[in-house]
Symmetry: C2
Subunit: 308 residues, 2 copies
């Protein structure tokens, strides 16, 4: 075994519904990635170590301790071990708050990165702070807003290397519930799309957010009465919810640089909606930022000589 191969470490993103791990070269290049559906939501505290070893045990040489650095819900109160939130304003990562999980296997040192909290308005994140750290690692002087679209979309205001404030929007989860389980499911089953309906809905709700309550059932009525097609109905539903989110997050994005960090499909919807507000957003790859953030954290841990 060569020296380089011997000094790899493991990057981990352990969310509610899945677990992803990468064998990493010291310089932050991923050597191999694996994932598992064994998210934190399905595991008792005792099950984390065996689950991790099942997925990545063969990445642990016998002759040394290998470091794993993990972000996400693994550090929640219901996770492996609680990594208490750091309160904003603060840098996205604070080494002194990382928590070492209680492992039995002597080959492994498992470090958990805490999430961030905000006292007022109350809010929390776990995992996204590492993507923010990744962006700041690449662009230390970044001053603007990160939007991380997903089930629970986060908008975070970043300045002077710190997360100043952030807000979570449930638009993604509400879209999933309404399109999959409400009366609207009959109207929006489609893989298609209509840019025009999306734009109309975004613009209407952006200027009249109070209309959301009625516009949602209007999608069902439109498909019953006037043949609104499923592509158009789906685009309208998405436009209504993203429109409400942009109306609510306006204080975050108005007059600031925005970087979108999420899946390509969802980021492009947000980019289009922001373009309707006259704002041109950049996009960044979520997995790349997660790995950049975990790599920066690993480098700091190593440099600081924190007992791993």
């Amino acid at each position: 075994m060569t020296e380089a191969a011997d000094s790899h470490w493991i990057a981990v993103d352990w969310g509610t519904s899945n677990l992803r791990a990468w064998k990493m070269a010291p310089d932050g290049t991923p050597i191999e990635g694996r994932d598992s559906p064994k998210g934190m939501g399905a595991l008792d505290p005792d099950a984390f170590e065996p689950t991790f070893l099942d997925l990545a045990g063969d990445w642990l040489p016998e002759n040394r301790t290998t470091v794993a650095v993990a972000c996400g819900m693994v550090g929640a109160r219901q996770g492996w071990v609680e990594a208490a939130y750091a309160a904003v304003p603060c840098p996205p990562h604070d080494l002194t708050r990382f928590v070492r999980a209680p492992v039995r296997d002597r080959r492994l040192s498992f470090q958990i990165i805490p999430g961030l909290s905000q006292a007022s308005p109350a809010d929390v994140m776990r995992g996204e702070e590492t993507q923010i750290a990744g962006l700041l690692h690449r662009r230390p002087k970044f001053d603007g807003v990160l939007c991380l679209p997903g089930t629970h979309t986060k908008w975070a205001h970043i300045s002077a290397g710190e997360v100043v404030s952030f807000t979570t929007y449930m638009s993604g989860e509400i879209f999933a519930l309404l399109s999959g389980q409400s009366v609207l499911r009959h109207s929006v089953q489609s893989d298609g799309w209509s840019d025009e309906d999306f734009a109309e809905a975004v613009e209407e709700i952006l200027s009249h957010p109070e209309r959301l309550a009625a516009r949602l059932f209007g999608i069902r009525a439109g498909s019953l009465l006037s043949g609104l097609t499923p592509d158009r109905a789906r685009a309208r539903l998405s436009g209504c919810l993203i429109g409400l989110e942009l109306a609510g997050s306006k204080p975050h994005w108005l007059g600031r640089d925005v970087v979108l960090v999420g899946s390509e499909a969802l980021s492009s919807r947000y980019a289009r909606a922001l373009a309707l507000c006259g704002l041109s957003a950049e996009t960044a790859n979520a997995t790349e930022l997660t790995l950049a953030g975990l790599t920066a954290a690993h480098a700091h841990l190593t440099r600081e000589g924190t007992p791993l």
Copy 2:
């Protein structure tokens, strides 16, 4: 058998998820009521007649034809037989549009009342038109707004004996999905309540509807960070959704008399929210209005000599 007992008829409210039938005296007094979970949503067209006969077949004497008058989703395109919507503005019931279901049993004449539609903004109702007819039967000169809270709350503007316009809000269904299936389910499991949190949420969203998107996740964050109790969280969720509905329906209720027609618990929440807007709403019993509407329809059918 006396003459009176022999001239009963049957009132039917056949919705998506259940079927209710009452044996009715000619003057509209309910003699007996029964219900069944066999709603329209679970039945093929062929199954409606046997389902009805299972529930109420013993109310059909051999020696004559008994009339049943039904409202609700039984008249939807996916129901027993379609009773095409009447378009507002129009009276809630139009006898010429009632549809007779195709029955095999000669003891039965089954009349279906059509729902109402609105072209723009697109909207539909089935069942609530009969509660409106019930109110107008009791108070022919009523001029104001009916609010029928439920899974899909309807607000209808009534004037000169007609439904002028109406709007459907999905607040009830969204409350059920968010409290039962979203991340908020961890925070709102309670039978308790907090009037103060409800009022705060109604007032905030009424004046700032765009904040809804963030306030929902704020309920989860509040329970994680500051010990927001499940009663308070549940009241906040309800207040956010009813607040958005009142913000959207303001053109309906502003400066008008409002009558609330729904379950006692839900109507009292709406009454409290409206009181925060300086509006004192009356309440009426939903089942009583349904029976009054069906009785008025039956009386008209009999009087008009429509071939039953």
